[in-house]
């Protein structure tokens, strides 16, 4: 029990509650249920992407192309909707998931079969995917009035007081919590990131496991692409530009070790929520949004320093006495 209270996730929950209490002490309106729902809904895209990114980082990779994937998939969905306004939303979502998966699979194949470092692969595909948006849209915007009401209404529709967007974030979190904790693939993500050599000897295919991580991350980016474009009712080349860094930040703050193999889906979600609260609270508190970058940055540095400290104790234990203590 004490072990769970001392965990990274419990600490983050504490920090988030303290942050909310601090804001509420000056602006009580911030903790009205309706506002908290707004904050959560606003953070939902970040949560969905952070779950995918967390899986990729667990396998010692990184996916910098998520925001570009999101923008490309979003543009394709928007253009489909404009061209065929009658297409049902489930069909649009299926297209978003599949296109996202394909874009993720391209990253995965390059990492797996050509063994190019993931940071290079996704930096390249990031640019390529953005470029493709420009090519297919001629740089033009798809605006709200061109989209169908069903298309833009879906993420905002409320079920039990929560918008669909928020429900999808919860569903994603729950699904991947189970995938990670309860499937051989989930276990393989940890093993491959924690010790790729040992994973090879245990009969796991390191490259293939990383490939699947990229496919999952891409699929979630695709889903977010449709949701993003529909929610903001606009699609253009530069949507969500630079958002990949926020996604990585959420993972790092949430305790996903950048060296792979350590961290939890819950942590990544909490990291995303932490960033979401800061982003939404600063304007309320009257601090310039420009400070938001500095605060996010400081949170990342603190989180990494914290990870490094926690990791240091994990050396080899040689003294029998220390081993007994570690086990107590």
């Amino acid at each position: 029990m004490i072990r769970y209270l001392k965990s990274r996730e419990a600490l983050l929950v504490g920090v988030i509650l303290a942050l909310i209490a601090l804001i509420a002490s000056r602006f009580p309106a911030f903790i009205l249920p309706s506002n908290l729902v707004n904050v959560f809904t606003d953070t939902s895209p970040l949560i969905i992407l952070a779950v995918g990114q967390a899986i990729v980082i667990l396998t010692r990779c990184i996916d910098l192309s998520v925001a570009a994937n999101l923008a490309l998939t979003g543009m394709v969905c928007a253009m489909l909707n404009v061209a065929y306004p009658g297409l049902p939303i489930p069909f649009i979502i299926a297209v978003a998931l599949m296109l996202g998966a394909v874009l993720g699979a391209i990253n995965g194949i390059l990492v797996w079969k050509l063994t190019i470092p993931p940071i290079v692969v996704t930096l390249g595909t990031l640019t390529i995917y953005r470029g493709i948006i420009f090519v297919i849209s001629d740089g033009a915007w798809v605006n709200a009035h061109e989209m169908s009401a069903a298309f833009t209404g879906f993420p905002r529709a409320e079920i039990l007081g929560l918008p669909v967007l928020a429900w999808l974030a919860i569903l994603t979190a729950a699904t991947f919590f189970v995938v990670i904790a309860r499937t051989p693939l989930g276990r393989a993500f940890y093993a491959v990131g924690g010790n790729p050599h040992a994973a090879v000897y245990a009969g796991l295919n390191v490259g293939k496991t990383q490939f699947w991580a990229f496919v999952l991350s891409g699929t979630l980016a695709g889903l977010t692409g449709y949701l993003w474009v529909a929610r903001y009712s606009v699609a253009y080349v530069d949507i969500a530009k630079g958002f990949e860094l926020e996604v990585v930040a959420a993972c790092v703050i949430g305790g996903i070790a950048i060296a792979g193999g350590a961290g939890t889906i819950m942590g990544a979600i909490l990291g995303a929520i932490f960033l979401g609260i800061i982003k939404n609270a600063l304007p309320v508190v009257g601090i310039s949004p420009f400070w938001q970058l500095a605060i996010s940055g400081a949170a990342i540095v603190i989180a990494v320093a914290f990870n490094a400290r926690a990791g240091r104790a994990k050396g080899r234990i040689i003294l029998k006495r220390a081993e007994a203590e570690a086990q107590a």
């Binding site: 189970v178 904790a181 309860r182 499937t183 051989p184 989930g186 276990r187 393989a188 940890y190 093993a191 924690g194 010790n195 050599h197 040992a198 994973a199 090879v200 000897y201 245990a202 009969g203 796991l204 295919n205 193999g261 350590a262 994990k314 080899r316 234990i317 040689i318 029998k320 081993e323 570690a326 086990q327 107590a328």
Partner: protein, 510 residues
């Protein structure tokens, strides 16, 4: 004690470098015990010993990488203390390592002068002077190299020349060469010998570490033999024969007790025919029976681990077939090998064995996930049951099975790794250097366990560089040399001398 040579004080020249009473202990292992070594100016001293005899450790003590726990080092009769590699360099001692420690992206001259480049105005590196001086040194050793060539364009032999040039650039009086010929062709070896002769004629003292007897007799003036971290003999090469040196290397007191085994091999489990690899091994044929322990002996680099990795599917052989229980099987990946009942416990358990950040039970079930999951989902209860069964059998000491493996001691981590493999219920288990770097007590436990596995009908392949272990545990031994099977020996044919002769390729029988 067992010195075969006349006493050194008869020598007309004083030693340039003198080590005496050097002791170095690592947790659980005494790597050097009261060792002495003398190097003379203008002479080549060959350092000979089995793997693990302490040769690398003494080099590290000499070059200031390790600090000895006790003993003295004297240069020119004056006692010195090295606290860093810089100190050793300043005292004129340089080592040329097996894997050359050079920088691929820098030029030859930059490599030669790294750390002590000539400085010009404002403390900036004087490139022109550096290149000129580097070229002078290269010309002096007849190295056909330009000082400005990027190092990455050079072959391994020329990289050795750069390393030697580097030693000369600091005017090293003591040059240590750690198996310098291991990766060289015959012609390149001849050129290296010429260079060694030249270094000798310049009055430098050379410590030449080698496994090859022919080159030791060709180039060395003196020898020093280490065994199990102790100095067991030294003298002039002209006073000894190959046989004497082999005797010194292996002639140890039997200080380990091995489990007694009643040998009753069952049916054939594994047969390998015509296994070959373009660069690592060729023409490998072997059979293995249930309940048998097959030892694999050879020098480091003889291709034993490479062969095992191919059998386990990590690398692919270019030819050959594996039969498990008489049936030919295709092994393209470790997963295939595990499915066919072959498992491999690698040598470097820290790096290749356990996932330290995962709990014990998840480490144990990692290769058996298909067994512990149903319709795509893992069954925690099944995982715990499997992990408990095998960790209890190995008497693992841990508070709980969901504790991270990183929090366990080395010996217990190893038990987790072995439990992991046993949980796959293998028919063949390959153990690569199973007792390397562990203390005597733990060794005995591993040996007893190995005997138990064989008694249970498992076929065991034990790759080991330790002669007592090979002699004490094996029913049969295959000796490999330079990627080929040099000999296959029955238990009654085994002796330390035969093993060393076959491994080193010395003609004739002991």
């Amino acid at each position: 004690m067992q010195n075969l040579a006349p006493q050194m004080d008869a020598a007309p020249i004083a030693p340039l470098l003198e080590l005496s009473g050097i002791t170095k202990t690592f947790p659980g292992v005494k790597a050097l015990n009261n060792v002495s070594l003398e190097l003379f100016p203008g002479q080549v001293t060959a350092l000979i010993g089995e793997n693990g005899a302490g040769k690398s450790t003494i080099v590290k003590v000499l070059t200031g990488i390790y600090r000895a726990d006790g003993g003295t080092i004297s240069v020119d009769g004056e006692q010195v203390a090295f606290t860093s590699a810089d100190d050793a360099g300043a005292a004129g001692i340089t080592a040329i390592h097996q894997e050359t420690v050079l920088f691929d992206e820098l030029s030859v001259a930059e490599n030669i002068f790294i750390g002590h480049a000539p400085r010009g105005r404002f403390g900036l590196i004087d490139t022109a002077q550096m290149n000129t001086r580097a070229q002078e040194i290269l010309d002096r050793i007849d190295a056909p190299l330009s000082a400005t060539t990027p190092l990455k364009d050079l072959g391994i032999a020329n990289k050795h020349l750069v390393a030697i040039a580097r030693a000369l650039s600091v005017d090293a009086r003591v040059v240590i060469m750690d198996e310098p010929t291991a990766a060289l062709s015959q012609k390149e070896i001849e050129e290296l010998y010429d260079l060694v002769e030249r270094l000798k004629s310049e009055g430098r003292a050379i410590l030449f570490i080698s496994h090859k007897f022919d080159e030791v007799f060709r180039i060395a003036d003196r020898y020093a033999v280490f065994r199990d971290g102790e100095h067991v003999g030294a003298g002039l090469m002209s006073d000894v024969t190959e046989g004497d040196l082999v005797q010194l290397m292996v002639g140890r007191a039997v200080d380990q007790i091995f489990p007694s085994r009643t040998h009753s091999a069952g049916a054939e489990v594994l047969r390998i025919e015509g296994y070959a690899h373009p660069t690592e091994f060729d023409n490998i044929n072997l059979t293995l029976k249930a309940g048998e322990i097959l030892g694999f002996y050879g020098l480091v680099g003889a291709g034993r681990s490479e062969l095992m990795q191919a059998i386990f599917g990590i690398t692919r052989p270019s030819a050959g077939t594996v039969y498990v229980e008489g049936e030919a099987c295709t092994i393209r990946s470790p997963a295939d090998a595990i499915a066919n009942g072959i498992v491999y416990v690698p040598e470097d358990r820290g790096k290749q064995g356990a996932v330290l950040g995962l709990p014990i039970f998840q480490n144990v079930t990692l290769p058996s996930l298909a067994q512990t999951s149903r319709s795509g989902f893992l069954k925690l209860a099944a995982e715990f049951a499997l992990a408990r069964e095998y960790t209890e059998r190995l008497e693992l000491r841990a508070a709980a099975l969901d504790q991270d493996v990183g929090n366990l001691s080395g010996g217990n981590q190893q038990k987790v790794v072995i439990a992991k493999w046993l949980a796959t219920k293998p028919r063949v288990i390959i153990l690569d250097e199973p007792t390397k770097g562990i203390d005597i007590g733990s060794k005995a436990a591993v040996h007893a366990f190995m005997a138990e596995l064989a008694a249970d009908g498992l076929a065991v392949i034990m790759v080991s560089s330790e002669i007592p272990e090979i002699l004490g545990m094996s029913d049969r031994v295959i000796v490999m040399r330079e990627g080929l099977i040099a000999a296959e020996l029955r238990r009654d044919e085994l002796s330390p001398e035969t093993l060393v002769r076959h491994a080193a390729g010395i003609g004739g029988q002991a």
